[in-house]
């Protein structure tokens, strides 16, 4: 890709968002630095489908927001200066305080090659276990559960099983929003096979319930009780595969005993889980009645202080029925990040060593040391994420290198994480985005390549290794993460071990390590991609999506594991785990009577550093919000669309109130995405309790005791501006990027003396401009509106009111797409409503095709549309990613 070409070329790559791992075909215009995105029809993870986030990737490759130059203590510098600074600082701290005084905190966004060298540097050569990753926050319970049950972190099945299954259970997963393409695949399976039973187990009535035959709105955190109850039921109703249990498993009787102890009866169980007894019985009956059952689980299971137990309580049921390892069955972990599994493969978690070997086995340590040819190898696990930032806070870890993640937002007790980094002697951040809550605290910033420049491999939820390919040359001075790590490693004196000159060399070494002494005599590991150990650059570049293992036995990969009943545990048998249900780490009390649940939205990804750049993705849910049950809302005097303060003992946030009976009484839900870059007080991480699972150390992000109260600002308002604005924060501020405009939602506790002066101060950027102003004032009721016009083009508008009675934003925002400010629009602009005859599309429902709620409503009415397919045919809404179908159905 070295030469600038004008002709469009097409490259297959993968999506950087969730763990579905969709293939993408990008048509690239090098000269204009633009791409057109399509789903890769040949990719077995998505067969051409993409969700709203993937579809808008082209909007996120702008260079404006990128970190492009290395900098040291705020000054741009050369790479060598920055790398010297990192290497020298790390070495001097190690010299003074030992290797455990430094750490690396990585991310499921890193490619396998990047991850591999970072892990190798820390654990193999610096000699500390202190390499952990944000996968700790999403996948570590699944890892620990797999490891306990199978002896290895192995996902047994594959996506094709969705079509083969007779029953699919979604537990703690709003796949419709979080893994939309997989969800659409399940929806399609259900449509072609109406007998396919779908059960959703989730405290919330989510969009995923749209296709469910049964929804069990379980009380948060009680999954182990439910699945213990199921195990008990399977036993009582002769649904067991006795042969399987006896020949291929261990621990059955203890697990059954615990299951029998955990709930005296189905009535008792239903009461504990706050479920309807009939519903529970129906679920049990269906589960017992189908051999081909898949249980898909995600963060609702993992992000819990009993996360690992939850995973094993699910796996127990599959083992009991022998429903594992064959088509259409098995437990299936839906991974959060594009390369969470790749990170686990290289040993990115602090208790892991490399290639599915970990510190628990001294032979593994010796084996990896020999392979790496090092005598510095770490001997014990390092700090896990929550402990790591506590250790930084306490001064035990004095230097940290954060790669491709935003812990100041995403960690529990995030304000403490922020303080920890503020106290830390030396903070290095490698990122592709310049301004994040975390880069703001970095001493050294290293510009890493981002998606569209990254080149390497990722592994998705079904163990499928795909190539993520570069579409462009690195922007500015950005470099691949593996290169950055390698350069630092060489400066620290490890030239020989970090001799890599290309990504394929790293991949080959990783593949070789996975096959190194991987046999029943030494240590048999499921993760074996030794078949790739000899790949040349060409073969690597042409690599087709392949499911591991890839070795002599399975040179083309393997769809399903455990079909041969061979497990990686010492005995070679699968392990039942005896589960004793525990309650959450912190229970609600008098002061904090509600339970806070957190999660993803349909159109945002993680901390919004990339998705918030795509205007389309910001329209569905533009502001941080809190969902509350109507009964709680009336008890706490919450009014729809007003603001509320949510407080826990650890922190607070402000969010807009949405009242909905999809939420259970006594619980609140807030989205996890907002950062200080986009909101003044919308970081939910500040509230989340730092409780972790004792085995996996995964934080309990879905259960924090909180309280809620109305936030009563003196004024509410919003600004829409063609250009981004800099202003001193009002008390509440949310920034939303739109199509050719920026939207700022505002609220303040004190009124400015003069709205006119306040407004002009904020909206007038250049003093040499002579804008025209339109103004509406009604000071008696504290209303102010103004529009700023330059060269007959609308530049900005502000609307202020004492309450939330402000016009809808949709028509106003559409004015920024017009090149000229038309007279009719100018006369209407401060009404906030379109002049007569202009359609008002309403809130955007379908982000893919930008179709608004009012457009859909009027089409339904005028054309008597009956189904979401009718709407799709008429307006295209819901026909791409399909994740808005539940909302369209609600309108029908």
């Amino acid at each position: 890709m070295s030469d600038e070409q004008t002709e469009l070329k097409s490259i297959n790559t993968t999506c950087p968002y969730c763990g579905v791992g969709c293939g993408i075909t990008a048509s690239i215009d090098q000269a204009k630095h633009q791409i057109v995105i399509q789903g890769d029809e040949s990719h077995p993870s998505n067969f051409g489908r993409l969700c709203s986030k993937g579809s808008t990737l082209a909007d996120t490759i702008e260079l404006k927001s990128r970190l492009l130059e290395p900098s040291v203590y705020g000054h741009d510098c050369s790479w060598s200066e920055a790398l010297d600074m990192v290497a020298d600082s790390f070495m001097s701290i190690i010299k003074k305080h030992g290797p455990d005084a430094v750490a690396i905190y990585g991310s499921g966004q890193l490619l396998t090659e990047d991850y591999y060298v970072a892990n190798k540097l820390m654990k193999g050569f610096i000699g500390s276990g202190n390499m952990d990753t944000n996968s700790r926050l999403c996948m570590s319970s699944a890892v620990a559960g797999h490891k306990r049950a199978f002896g290895s972190d192995t996902v047994p099945g594959c996506y094709e099983d969705f079509e083969q299954a007779e029953m699919i259970v979604l537990v703690g997963s709003n796949a419709a929003w979080c893994h939309p393409v997989s969800f659409q695949r399940i929806r399609a399976a259900k449509e072609s096979n109406p007998d396919l039973k779908i059960v959703v187990i989730d405290p919330r009535l989510t969009s995923s319930c749209d296709i469910a035959d049964l929804h069990l709105p379980i009380a948060i955190g009680n999954d182990t009780i439910l699945f213990n109850g199921l195990l008990n039921y399977l036993n009582q109703h002769n649904a067991l595969d006795q042969n399987y249990i006896q020949q291929h498993t261990e621990g059955w009787s203890d697990a059954l005993k615990s299951a029998q102890d955990s709930s005296s009866s189905t009535e008792r169980l239903a009461e504990q889980c706050k479920l309807d007894k009939q519903d529970v019985e129906l679920f049990f009956k269906w589960f017992a009645g189908h051999k081909k059952v898949m249980t898909l689980f995600s963060q609702g299971v993992n992000q819990s202080s009993s996360g690992t137990d939850k995973v094993n309580s699910i796996i127990n049921c599959h083992l009991a029925m022998g429903s594992i390892g064959k088509p259409g069955m098995g437990p299936f972990s839906l991974t959060g990040q594009p390369n969470a599994m790749g990170g686990r493969e290289v040993g990115g978690l602090a208790h892991q060593l490399a290639a599915h070997m970990d510190f628990s086995n001294p032979d593994d340590i010796d084996r990896v040391a020999r392979f790496w040819n090092t005598d510095h190898i770490a001997q014990k696990p390092g700090y896990f994420a929550v402990d790591l930032f506590d250790a930084i806070y306490d001064g035990k870890v004095k230097a940290v290198w954060i790669m491709g993640t935003n812990p100041v937002v995403s960690m529990p007790n995030a304000d403490k994480v922020k303080q920890a980094l503020q106290r830390c002697d030396f903070v290095v951040v490698s990122d592709c985005i310049a301004a994040t809550d975390t880069t703001a605290l970095a001493h050294v910033k290293l510009p890493a390549v981002g998606w569209s420049e990254k080149d390497g491999t990722v592994t998705n939820s079904e163990r499928r290794i795909s190539r993520q390919r570069a579409l462009f040359k690195p922007a500015g001075s950005a470099k691949p993460d593996w290169w950055i790590v390698t350069q630092v490693a060489r400066r620290m004196g490890y030239e020989e071990a970090f001799h890599y000159s290309s990504n394929v060399e790293i991949f080959r070494e990783h593949a070789a390590l996975s096959g190194f002494e991987n046999n029943p005599q030494q240590h048999s590991r499921d993760f074996d991609i030794s078949g790739f150990a000899e790949l040349n650059q060409d073969e690597y570049d042409q690599l087709q999506p392949t499911q591991w293992p890839v070795n002599k036995a399975h040179p083309q990969g393997l769809q399903r594991i455990f079909a041969d009943y061979k497990f990686s545990s010492p005995s070679g048998k699968a392990q039942f785990i005896s589960i004793k249900p525990r309650s959450a780490g912190n229970l609600p009390n008098k002061d904090y009577p509600l339970i806070l649940n957190t999660g993803r939205l349909r159109d945002q990804w993680h901390t919004m550093t990339r998705t918030a750049l795509a205007a389309k993705l910001n329209q569905h849910k533009p502001e941080p919000f809190v969902e509350i049950h109507p009964v709680d809302a009336s008890h706490y005097k919450m009014v729809k669309d007003t603001l509320a303060v949510i407080e826990s003992p650890w922190g607070k946030m402000i969010a807009r109130v949405q009242i909905t009976d999809t939420q259970q009484q006594g619980t609140l839900f807030v989205p996890m995405h907002w950062t200080a870059q986009y909101s003044s007080l919308g970081r939910m991480g500040a509230l989340v309790n730092p409780v972790v699972d004792p085995i996996s150390s995964q934080p309990e992000s879905k259960h924090t005791p909180v309280r809620i109260k109305a936030y009563q600002p003196a004024w509410n308002g919003f600004i829409l501006s063609r250009h981004p604005l800099e202003f001193s924060h009002p008390d509440y501020l949310v920034k939303v990027k739109g199509n050719q405009f920026y939207r700022y939602e505002l609220a303040g506790e004190t009124m400015p003396v003069s709205w006119r002066a306040w407004t002009k101060n904020i909206l007038c950027s250049a003093s040499n401009e002579t804008p025209q102003w339109q103004e509406y004032t009604d000071p008696a009721v504290n209303k102010y509106r103004a529009a700023r016009i330059l060269d007959n083009q609308l530049q900005s508008v502000i609307f202020v009111a004492p309450d939330i009675n402000l016009p809808e934003r949709s028509w106003l925002t559409s004015l920024f797409e017009k090149p000229e400010f038309e007279k009719e629009d100018r006369l209407a602009v401060l009404t906030g409503k379109p002049p007569l005859g202009t359609p008002d599309v309403g809130t955007i429902v379908c982000a893919c095709f930008n179709v608004g709620e009012k457009t859909i409503q009027s089409a339904i009415k005028e054309k008597s549309l009956k189904t979401h397919q009718d709407v799709g045919q008429c307006l295209k809404a819901g026909t791409n990613c399909g994740s808005c179908i539940p909302e369209i159905k609600a309108l029908l």
Binding site: W773, D778, A780, V781, K783, E808, L830, L836
Partner: protein, 412 residues
Amino acid sequence: MKNRLVVIGNGMAGIRTVEELLSASPEKYDITVFGAEPHGNYNRIMLSSVLSGEKNIEDIITHNRQWYTDHNILLHAGEDKAVVEINRSRKCVIAKDGTQAEYDRLLIATGSKPVIPEIPGKDLQGVISFRDILDVNTMLEYSRSHKRAVVLGGGLLGLEAANGLVLRGMHVTVIHTNPVLLNRQMDEQAGGMLQQALEARGLHFKMPARTQELIADNKGHVKSVRFEDGSELECDLFITAIGVRPNMQLAQTAKLYCERGIVVNDNLQSYDPSIYAVGECIQHRGATFGLVAPLFEQAKVCANHLSEHGMADYKTLPTSTKLKVTGINLFSVGNFLGDENSEIITFTDPAFGLYKKLVIKNNKLIGTVLYGDTVDGSWYHELLEAEQDITDIRENLIFGQRYLPTTESTHE
């Protein structure tokens, strides 16, 4: 036998009353009308349009002589027919030429007279007011032979005169004592926008300024204006347009009770119950009148009483204003300045020539000024007269009737 009604004044108020009466009780009266101008009735408020050339005299005649004939009305029109005496004991009126008419009911509609400022030189040649067709003809004559005109008074009439003369090719300066043009109808901001717009049309302004003296040339014709600040302005034609006062001389002579105008009750009767008065000559509950709308309302009430159709009390309602300068839209009604207890809503887009102001008190509209976009003027006027509570429509009130909420706007 029919009753006899005599009308003194062949203007808009008098003839409108006659019209109302003809429609209410066509057979009740024999009607005689005296007029001092030699025409039928014409629309006096359209005189500015005649001056500006947009209309001619024929266009503004509302009732020609044939109309009087058709309705069996005896018309005495012309300078000689000006009534000079009302003999209340004999119930008859006497004109300058001796024409007499007896009445059972008398209607006085003598209108108003321009206020002439007490400044030295006010009687010079070339100093006129702007009241009737004669004045318009004089101005048109001057515009053909002279260059410089000065208009004293930045009110409606003065500005219309000035605009007309500019269109007729004269260099016109308007002198106004107040810093705000149309200060009885506009607030400072609207007045300023109006001034800008008029300046763009070629009018000149000297304001605030007070006239000290009109200076004559050697033929006794005005040649310049001297101001209190000592400055002077050349001037071939000086038009006074600083207001009108009720023309009540005749009534006073007849010993009818007058104050600032002929005092009438709610039925438009003077202190002599057989004598009525309408229009700019009257004083009703302390108020005098200078705009056309209340005159029409008075005509209706008066005709109703003359018809003996029972009581229909006249009430003075707020009157709205329009300036008849083509292309300039302004409107005001009610208490548009407000007081310390009122609330003010504004909408401004100066670059676009828009200014609107609503004055609200106790959730009711009590006044408005509109500049640039006046389409909603009559709607506001209705709201104001109806004293409608505007709480529910306050949000979009200033944007006009088309933005009345059909459904409540909500936050998304």
